[in-house]
């Protein structure tokens, strides 16, 4: 069984079996991923590139095979390996933004963005006098598309989250990309919550940048990627300087690599790349679409059950949304709720989920969030709802 491949799911928490429902924060790792990293460290560990010895060759092959795998899975021709979504977006702000945006240019964001897709642009805006336009979120938990079209006017870049980490709502990206390109704007997709739940054809999708993290799709911490459309890639200047991203260095100046290495300064995250490759291969061992259907059915059932015990639920749980259920009880404090759940082994997250502008718009300062992934079962969801019922009865 798929679930048996995750050693951590055997664990007990406070005497109860762990029910891990914090998957939007990070997912668990199957044994094959741990094995791949262990194998690397116990058999092939070496620094990569420009090396002649056997281990270095194996390490280089291992590292680059991650890029190859990502290119295959996402049908992308330029894949920059980063430390995660956050670095990937900062890379765009520095490498593309600083080279291509000038005072008065406009960047369109949405109120649904994660802080990692807001703060880099605020910093750039402050430094360069770039204008930021935020697309509001409606009471149906969706982007206000009229406002979006309006915001597009003269915009140079649109940054939009594929799937909200608070609401689970999947945005109408096809429309967004089409309209943005029509308006002459490039599009950056924050797909941190998108890639775990669907397979995206980047070229067919048509976005210019797409950022995501390994740790949210069964891979290790410390690694992520930025996909870039090839002609946009050519217009990027280096971000960080250092080893491996150069062609020649003299005291007079340096020349840079022209491929993805240009953006990967220093010793890369080698073991992480090898672990991620294993995770990506592992994700091909089952039908992700079928799993997604199963999960969104669970999420939508949970959402209704929570509404039935008096919770306010933030989200809509349509077919393409992620299995994320954010909720609040009218009287039970969300942290108290999370602690009570933890006492019975249920791991959920509380707080602003790094999306304060969205919560501001919803008029709240945080939610309790249960997010489901491929190893979660219907039984776990039922146990969760039963536990919530008990808590509400006892503490409301």
């Amino acid at each position: 069984m798929l679930r048996d491949q995750f050693p951590i799911l055997q664990r007990k928490v406070n005497g109860y079996p762990l029910v891990y429902l914090d998957n939007a924060a990070t997912t668990q790792k199957p044994q094959v991923v741990l094995d791949a990293m262990n194998d690397y460290y116990s058999k092939s560990n070496a620094n990569v590139h420009r090396a002649v010895h056997t281990l270095a060759g194996e390490a280089t092959e291992g590292y680059e095979s991650c890029r190859t795998k990502l290119k295959q899975r996402f049908n992308a021709s330029k894949v920059i390996i980063t430390s995660g979504t956050t670095e990937a977006i900062n890379l765009v702000a520095h490498a593309w933004g600083r080279a291509n945006l000038k005072k008065g240019d406009a960047v369109v964001l949405t109120e649904m963005e994660h802080h990692s897709d807001i703060v880099p642009w605020q910093m750039l805006a402050e430094e360069r006098g770039v204008e930021l336009r935020y697309v509001p979120v409606t009471q149906h938990f969706t982007l206000d598309m009229d406002a979006f079209e309006h915001a597009l006017e003269g915009a140079a870049l649109v940054c939009v989250v594929h799937t909200s980490n608070v609401l689970g709502v999947r945005n109408p990206l096809e429309d967004i990309i089409r309209l943005s390109h029509k308006a002459g704007a490039k599009v950056l997709i924050d797909a941190a919550q998108g890639v775990p739940h669907s397979t995206i054809d980047f070229e067919a999708f048509g976005a210019d940048f797409m950022a995501f993290s390994a740790h949210k799709m069964c891979g290790p911490t410390g690694i992520g990627a930025l996909l870039v459309e090839p002609s946009t890639f050519e217009s990027m200047q280096p971000f960080m300087g250092g080893g491996d991203m150069i062609e020649t260095v003299t005291t007079e100046g340096s020349t840079y690599q022209t491929n993805e290495h240009k953006f990967e300064a220093g010793t890369p995250r080698i073991a992480e790349a090898i672990g991620w490759t294993a995770a990506l291969e592992w994700m091909e061992s089952f039908d992700l679409d079928a799993e997604h259907d199963r999960l969104i059915a669970i999420a939508s059932w949970v959402a209704q059950a929570l509404r039935d015990v008096g919770m306010q639920v933030y989200g809509r749980h349509e077919a393409n949304d992620a299995a994320v259920v954010s909720f609040l009880h009218p009287t039970i404090n969300s942290e108290d709720m999370a602690h009570l759940l933890d006492a019975r082994g249920f791991a959920v997250r509380t707080g602003h989920h790094c999306a304060q502008p969205l919560l501001n718009r919803l008029g709240i300062s945080g939610t309790v969030r249960a997010s489901f992934y491929v190893y979660n079962t219907r039984e776990e969801a039922e146990g969760f709802v039963a536990e919530i019922r008990e808590i509400v009865e006892k503490f409301a």
Partner: protein
């Protein structure tokens, strides 16, 4: 380590309970001990930093004895405040500063709380003790 009688009793009560849920319930009940700091008195001076939610504490001296006022939005945090109320209320500052923060560990509170929450508790404790020390100097 010995503590004021009321606190000592609490430490033992908590030690007797293993289940996290039961401990939480005990904490929740202790919220009733809080002497409430009215929200109109909340300000940056009363705010406890490092808590995820709002938490405010204040010390008032009443005839040389400590009165501990507090407020929080999470019931668990109120419970922690309740413990401090039991520990401190009515003591002289000289008595209060003798109380070591080790009681939280002995109670097993730190196992009940996650690290960020126990940091929050520690911040609250430190803040209160600082105010008490200042009241002694003043």
């Amino acid at each position: 380590m010995t503590y004021p009688v009321a606190l000592q009793e609490l430490v033992e009560e908590f030690q007797a309970v293993d289940d996290k849920r039961e401990r939480l319930e005990m904490l929740f009940e202790l919220a009733d001990e809080v002497i409430e700091l009215p929200s109109e008195n909340w300000n940056e001076q009363t705010r406890v930093r490092g808590c995820q939610s709002e938490a405010h504490v204040s010390i008032v001296m009443d005839d040389g004895r400590i009165q501990f006022l507090s407020a929080a939005d999470a019931r668990m945090v109120q419970g922690l405040m309740g413990i401090l109320t039991i520990a401190l209320d009515g003591l002289t500052p000289a008595q209060a500063v003798l109380i070591s923060p080790a009681f939280a560990e002995e109670m097993g509170l730190l196992n009940t709380l996650t690290p960020s929450r126990s940091n929050g508790f520690r911040n609250m404790y430190d803040k209160v003790m600082n105010e008490i020390r200042q009241s002694m100097e003043g």
